[in-house]
Subunit: 412 residues, 2 copies
C-alpha cells in the first residue's frame, strides 16, 4: 500500500514524498477556506433526499479565471459561463447536481440565466458575478423553479467548511472532495467532483479553486492553464469527455500579494493531488493508476503514449485482476502508430519492479508482480529511450462496478 | 431482434437485407472451401485439451496478399510474414493459438521460422510458401518442439470443412468463425478469430480468405486493402490494437477468371459480415453495435466520429443496460474536438427511432427506446448535417463479462 485514499486526501509531507511525481507540498490535515470564502449546500428536490445544490460565496468581489470543456455540445451553464468569465470578476458560484442542463436548447440557457439571477438576488450582487454549473444526466430540462425556491435563504446557511459545498455537487462520487494548502500568508482551497465521463480537456468535471492571495484575472488565467495541463488534462477515468467540464479559480485578495513562482508550484501540486483523488474515486475504481512515460520524443508524444497505456481496457483489467500480463503494456505503447517507438530501447516497471527490458518481457516471479499490482496505487513507468520528454497520466482500473453504475445511470 | 448470431453467420439474403449497411450478398448456409483448399487442426499441447494448431493448405500454389498490424511491437510471425508475403505466393498457412510469440526477441523469430519449416517439410514445399501466425498471451516463448512434433502427420487429417481450421485458432472466441459465398463459378471463404484486443489497423486479429478465382498477387493486394478499409479496420471491441493482426488472402486459380468488380463486391461484403460476427462475439458481448455517421465533412471525420461513439464506454454500457441515456450519443460525438460538428444540425436514431433532433434530446417514451436497445443488433445512426461523407463502425457492448475475462487472462 502506498498511501490509500485517506492519505491521498490528508496528504501530509511524508505521503507527498511517496507520491513521487508531484512537487512536495504540505496540504492541511482538514481542508479549510481562505479568508472571506464560505459555502452552503441543500436538497432542493432534484434528488430524493441527498444534497443537490451548492453556493460558494466570496465576501468581496474576487478576480477570476476559468477553463471549460472542449466538447462540441457544451452544457447551457458552459455557454453562459464563457460569457460570465469574460468580466474577470466573480462573487459566487452556484452549482447543482443530478441534472446537467446539456442538450436542452435555448430553454436550457434561459434556465441557467434564471439560476444565476436567483443566486445574485439572494446575495445582493449582479448575475454576471455568479458562475453557474450543473452536473448529472444529459438531455433533461432543469426544474428551475425548484432551484429558485431552494436558493432563497441560503445566505443564512453559509459556513466555513469547504466539504459542505463539495457535498452538494456529488453525483457518483463516493465522497466529497476538498483540499487546502498555504502559500506564504495565503491559502488555496480546491473543491471538486467527478467520477465518470472523465477525460477532461481544458478542465475536469467541476473543480473550483479559492484563494485569498491578490492576483489579477490575467495572471490567474495563465497560472490555471499551466496547472491544468499537468493535472486535470492528464486524467481519464473512461476516455469520455464531459459536456460540463469546468475549472474555475477565484482570488479575493484578502491575504495580499504572494510570490508567483511559489503560488504556481502549490497551485499545480494541489491540482495534481486533486486529480489523483478524482482518479482513485473513478466509477467502480479499486486502484489509482499512474502512468509515467519517460524518454519520449517530445511532450506531445509523451502525453499520447501515457494516455494510451492509461486508457487501455486490457491494461486496466490487468491491474484490476492483479494479473501479471505485462505484455499488454507493450501492446498499448505500440498502438500509438504516429509516435516514435523503438522496441529495442523500451523498458517498463510496475511499482518500481522492472518487467520489460529492450522490448522483451523479463523472466520474473509472477507472485512479485501480482503483489505489486495489488497496491492501491499502481505506478506504471515506461522508458522509451527515444528523447528527453516525459509525462504522467492519472486514472483507475476497469471493474464490474463501472459497468454496473453506467448500465443504469439514467434509470436509477 | 434483428437476426441473432445464427442468422449473422448463415446470412441468407433476407437477413442480409436487414443488415442494412452491407451490400446484398448470399452466403452459403454451411461454409465450404473453394476448390483445392483443405485444412486440419489438432491439440499439440499448448492448451490442456482444446485444439491449438491449424494448417490451411492449397493443393496448388496460390497467389497471395496480406496486411498486418501497425502496432510498433509486431509479433515474431508478423516480422517473418512481412518477408514471406513479398513473394506473392503461398501454399499453406500454419497458425497456433494460446501463445502469440510477441515480445520474444530473436529467439521468437527463430521459433517462427522453425514453425514454417516444419509445415513446409510436412507438405513438401518451401518454408517461404508458408505463412505463420500465432495468437494468445504476449511475452511468452513458443514451445516450438511441441509445435514441430504436432505438425508431423497432419496431411493425413486434411479435410474440406473450414470450421475445422477455425477451431484451432480460437482463443476467447465462443465459436469458430467461417463464411463462404459464390462469385460466378468461383468461391470465396473467410476464416477468422478474434474476440478481445480488437481494434485492428490494417487487418483484424487473424483473418484468412481463400478463393479459387484466378487473380494475381498485386490485384489481390489492392482488393484486400479496399475491403479491409470498410470492414476490419472499422471494428473495435476494446480500442486495443493487437500485436498479431493478420489478414491474408490466397487465390489458387482453380475456378479460372472472375469479374473484378463482382469479386470486389462479394469480397467486401464477406469482410463486413465477418467483421459483424467478430463484433458480436467480442469478449463478454451481448449485442452487436453498429454506428453509422452520415453527413460528415469527409471520410476521415466520418470514421473518427463513428469510432468515438462506438468506443465510448458510456455508450457501450448504455446499450448493455438498455438505459435510454441518449445524451451520451451527443457527448461522444462532441468529444471529437478536431471534427466539424454543428449542434443545431445534429440528429440521432436508435434502431430507426429518432431520439435527438437539432442537438436536443427529443421527448419520447423511455420504454420504446429501452426496447430498441434490447435488440441483439443495435444500430446507432448520427446525421451531422455538415457534409456528404458517411462511415459505419462495428463493435459491441461493455459488460462485466469483459472485465471477468481480462482480469485473469494470463493466469487462467
Amino acid at each position: 500500500m502506498r498511501g490509500g485514499i485517506a492519505a491521498l486526501i490528508q496528504g501530509d509531507a511524508a505521503n507527498a514524498a511517496m507520491l513521487m511525481f508531484i512537487p512536495m507540498t504540505s496540504f492541511h490535515t482538514t481542508p479549510r477556506f481562505p479568508r472571506g470564502f464560505r459555502c452552503a449546500s441543500r436538497n432542493v428536490g432534484l434528488k430524493p433526499a441527498a444534497k443537490d445544490l451548492t453556493l460558494f460565496v466570496s465576501d468581496v468581489e474576487a478576480s477570476a479565471a476559468a477553463v471549460f470543456t472542449r466538447n462540441h455540445f457544451p452544457g447551457a451553464p458552459i455557454i453562459l459561463g464563457r460569457e460570465t468569465i469574460r468580466g474577470g470578476k466573480l462573487k459566487a458560484i452556484v452549482a447543482n447536481s443530478k441534472v446537467s442542463n446539456v442538450a436542452t436548447g435555448a430553454r436550457g440557457v434561459e434556465n441557467a440565466r434564471r439560476m444565476a439571477a436567483a443566486a445574485a438576488k439572494e446575495l445582493g450582487t449582479d448575475p454576471d458575478r455568479v458562475l453557474v454549473s450543473s452536473t448529472g444526466v444529459i438531455g433533461v430540462q432543469l426544474p428551475v423553479e425548484k432551484v429558485e425556491a431552494g436558493i432563497r435563504g441560503m445566505t443564512a446557511d453559509l459556513q466555513h467548511d469547504p466539504l459542505v459545498g463539495a457535498e452538494g455537487i456529488m453525483t457518483t462520487d463516493t465522497h466529497p472532495k476538498a483540499l487546502s494548502a498555504s502559500v506564504g500568508d495565503a491559502t488555496i482551497t480546491w473543491v471538486a467532483k467527478g467520477s465518470g465521463m472523465i477525460e477532461p480537456n481544458m478542465a475536469t468535471m467541476l473543480s473550483y479553486i479559492f484563494t485569498d492571495a491578490a492576483l489579477d484575472a490575467a495572471t490567474l488565467d495563465r497560472m490555471l492553464r499551466t496547472a491544468v495541463a499537468r493535472s486535470f488534462n492528464m486524467l481519464s477515468v473512461d476516455t469520455d469527455t464531459s459536456t460540463s467540464d469546468t475549472c474555475a479559480i477565484l482570488a479575493n485578495g484578502l491575504a495580499g500579494g504572494v510570490g508567483e513562482a511559489e503560488f504556481q508550484r502549490v497551485l499545480t501540486a494541489g491540482c495534481v493531488r486533486m486529480t489523483e483523488i478524482l482518479g482513485r474515486d473513478g466509477e467502480g475504481a479499486e486502484h489509482l493508476l499512474r502512468v509515467t512515460v519517460r524518454g519520449a520524443k517530445d511532450d506531445h508524444e509523451a502525453r499520447v503514449i501515457a494516455k494510451s497505456v492509461l486508457n487501455s481496457p486490457l491494461v486496466k483489467t490487468m491491474v484490476h485482476g492483479a494479473d501479471p500480463n505485462v505484455g499488454r503494456l507493450l501492446m498499448a505503447v505500440g498502438k500509438c502508430f504516429e509516435c516514435s517507438i523503438r522496441p529495442a530501447s523500451t523498458d517498463a516497471w510496475i511499482n518500481g519492479f522492472q518487467v520489460v527490458q529492450g522490448g522483451e518481457r523479463l523472466t520474473f516471479d509472477d507472485a512479485v508482480v501480482r503483489t505489486a499490482l495489488m497496491a492501491e496505487v499502481v505506478d506504471l513507468e515506461i522508458a522509451l529511450g527515444v528523447g528527453a520528454a516525459e509525462a504522467t497520466a492519472y486514472g483507475c482500473d476497469l471493474t464490474k462496478g463501472y459497468v454496473d453504475e453506467n448500465a443504469s445511470y439514467y434509470s436509477s
